[in-house]
């Protein structure tokens, strides 16, 4: 697994009462642990698993920001993302791709975190548009975050303001490639560094009332 670069930000000690999460398994197949553990087989299994995952990215229908306007053409006839095995799902419980379509207001960030945590693993985040990278147009706004990766693990960024549907398709193809190679491991990173993420989130969201991450 590729080690991801941790963004540098001074963080206080892990917040009190953060519940330890379940040990990180290799995957999310039911009963996978019972399978024979020969390394070659394990590797082959992982490849197959990743290939399947890449072919069925289900996107949560949550237009968090203005980039959502280009998601509609993507889901409808002209750019038709279903031919790539992707579909919009109405609820986080059925999705494994969260598209953060641009800037996030603090108020939205809270909902996005909640939605992300409700998604079953494996799950990936696509940062759509420049404002997820470094604040973009709204860099000096008091109400929008500048870096999404401080709060949630981002697997792919698509630069643009806003990126066209074709750029989104390229972004998703890139995500699929990374999933196939087993490199898109944002959700692992989130779990491994949960305390760091939670501290960042709580530093910004002062009226914190979300349940602990329990998936």
């Amino acid at each position: 697994m590729e080690k991801r670069k941790l963004p540098v930000l001074p963080v206080a000690a892990p917040p009190e009462g953060s519940r330890p999460h379940a040990p990180l398994g290799e995957g999310c197949f039911l009963g996978e642990e019972e399978l024979p553990k020969a390394p070659a087989l394990k590797e082959a299994l992982a490849t197959i698993k990743n290939w399947f995952r890449a072919q069925s990215l289900w996107v949560m229908a949550y237009g968090t920001g203005c980039g959502a306007i280009e998601l509609r053409p993507l889901t409808t006839a002209r750019f038709d993302m279903e031919r790539f095995g992707m579909a919009m799902r109405p609820t986080p419980r059925q999705s494994n791709v969260l598209i953060v379509s641009g800037y996030l207001a603090t108020k939205s960030l809270k909902r996005v975190i909640r939605a992300y945590e409700q998604m079953p693993s494996p799950k990936w985040i696509v940062g759509l548009g420049s404002c997820t990278i470094n604040g973009g147009m709204y860099w000096d706004s008091y109400n929008t975050i500048n870096r999404l990766d401080l709060y949630l693990p981002v697997d792919v960024y698509i630069a643009g303001c806003m990126p066209r549907p074709e750029a989104l398709i390229e972004g998703f193809k890139y995500l699929m490639e990374r999933v196939k190679k087993g490199e898109a491991n944002g959700w692992h990173h989130y779990l491994e560094n949960l305390d760091w993420y939670k501290a960042n989130q709580k530093k910004l969201i002062t009226d914190w009332n979300l349940p602990d991450y329990n998936w």
Binding site: M60, A61, Y62, G63, T64, G65, C66, A68, I69, E70, R72, P73, T76, A77, R78, M88, P90, P92, Y103, A105, K107, S108, R111, A115, M137, Y138, D140, S141, Y142, N143, T144, C161, M162, R164
Partner: protein, 376 residues
């Protein structure tokens, strides 16, 4: 009634922000009795980017890339209004060349067309009919293709600036507009009619639902398709004429019923009207001449103190900009008054009691609530 009974009878439900039926990123806190809504409160702020605050610390020219973000489906109204307000306050309005006025009218009408195609798809989409959005979004995309050709971008055009527009019409634009957009839309409209307005499913869910009483029109300042669906011919393009609209030949579309069906019908008619207007504009537009006035150095431009309110007809209704300048190189205050501010909050909250939960989403689409323009 005991507390338990109250609880049994009354359920609180958050409709959005993460909900496939919500219009944009907003939410309605709703109370239900059975499947009937008894009360609803609109919650916005999920998209609050503080445009007005940011513009107070940006120079005039730097403000104009930011205003188009206030309404994503229809950015050009914002660009035009900011330009119009500042031109009026600076006296630059007298220098805007003829051609620029025509191009601005064209751009506004194109953006109305794109937005109405989108919302017409939304009308049926919100009822779970997935076929029509596939057409209307594609048709909208054809309009966006022309926008891309004209302005250099698909969604955020950043095209209308003080003094005119940023680029001339490309060679052969009118022909491509006709063959690749207008003709295709016109060919598709009867099919859409069949699939929407003749569909018993749509009729059953739309007729008589979400009726806005006529008395509310004046005091609440309801505008756009919502007011025209009441039979009131109110249209900023006619009432407060701007740009080249007085020279164009069109009638305000009205119908009666004031329900979701009527509003969808108005939009369907206005799509045809826009198509016709775009043809008129392209036919009458001068081919020669400058497209932008000579501008002073935008890095140091100052505007004398003053305040004004300008308005234009967006697809959703009357959009207004209140701009105050204080003689410096930045705006003292800019306040954007989108139609959704009234439609999406006060009007929606007044309409919710008695509505079926399943009709909330179509209702919101029919009011065309656009949350970013409420919270800005």
């Amino acid at each position: 009634m005991t507390t338990t009974e109250t609880l049994r009878r009354r359920v609180q439900l958050w409709f959005g922000p993460q909900h496939p039926g919500i219009t944009g990123n907003m939410s309605v806190q709703a109370w239900l009795e059975g499947d009937t809504l008894t009360q609803g409160i609109t919650h916005v702020g999920y998209l609050h980017r503080a445009f007005e605050k940011l513009m107070e610390r940006r120079k005039f020219i730097q403000s104009f890339p930011i205003v188009c973000r206030i309404c994503v489906p229809e950015p050009d109204t914002n660009e035009y209004l900011l330009a119009a307000a500042l031109e009026e306050l600076s006296g630059l309005d007298r220098e805007v060349p003829e051609k620029a006025l025509w191009i601005r009218t064209l751009v506004l009408e194109m953006s109305r067309l794109a937005a109405m195609l989108q919302v017409l798809g939304g009308h049926v989409g919100s009822m779970g009919l997935g076929v029509v959005p596939n057409w209307t979004y594609t048709l909208r995309d054809y309009v966006l293709d022309r926008f891309e050709e004209l302005t250099g971008a698909r969604v955020y055009h950043m095209y209308t600036v003080f003094g005119g527009v940023r680029r001339d019409l490309p060679e052969g634009f009118a022909e491509r507009m006709e063959t690749e957009v207008l003709a295709k839309i016109e060919a598709k409209l009867p099919v859409i009619d069949n699939a929407i307005f003749d569909s018993s499913v749509f009729r059953k869910r739309a007729i008589g639902v979400g009726v806005v009483p006529e008395e509310w029109a004046d005091e609440m300042g309801i505008s756009g398709p919502v007011v025209r669906a009441m039979g009131i011919p109110r249209d900023t393009r006619k009432d407060f004429p701007y740009l080249k609209y007085p020279e164009l030949d069109f009638e305000v579309v009205t119908t009666t019923g004031s329900d979701i069906y009527a509003r969808a019908w108005i939009r369907r008619q206005e799509i045809a009207q826009s198509v016709d207007l775009i043809r008129q504009i392209l036919r009458r537009m001068p081919t020669e001449g400058p497209y932008c006035a000579k501008l002073p150095n935008m890095l140091t431009w100052t505007i004398p103190p003053g305040q004004t309110y300008v308005r234009a007809e967006a697809s959703r209704g009357e959009m207004g900009y209140y701009v105050v300048t204080d003689g410096s190189d930045k705006m003292r205050r800019v306040h954007v008054r989108g139609p959704s501010y009234v439609h999406g909050v006060s009007l929606l909250e007044r309409l919710i009691p008695g509505t079926n939960i399943a009709d909330l989403s179509p209702l919101m689409v029919s009011l065309q609530t656009c949350p970013p323009e409420i919270e800005r």
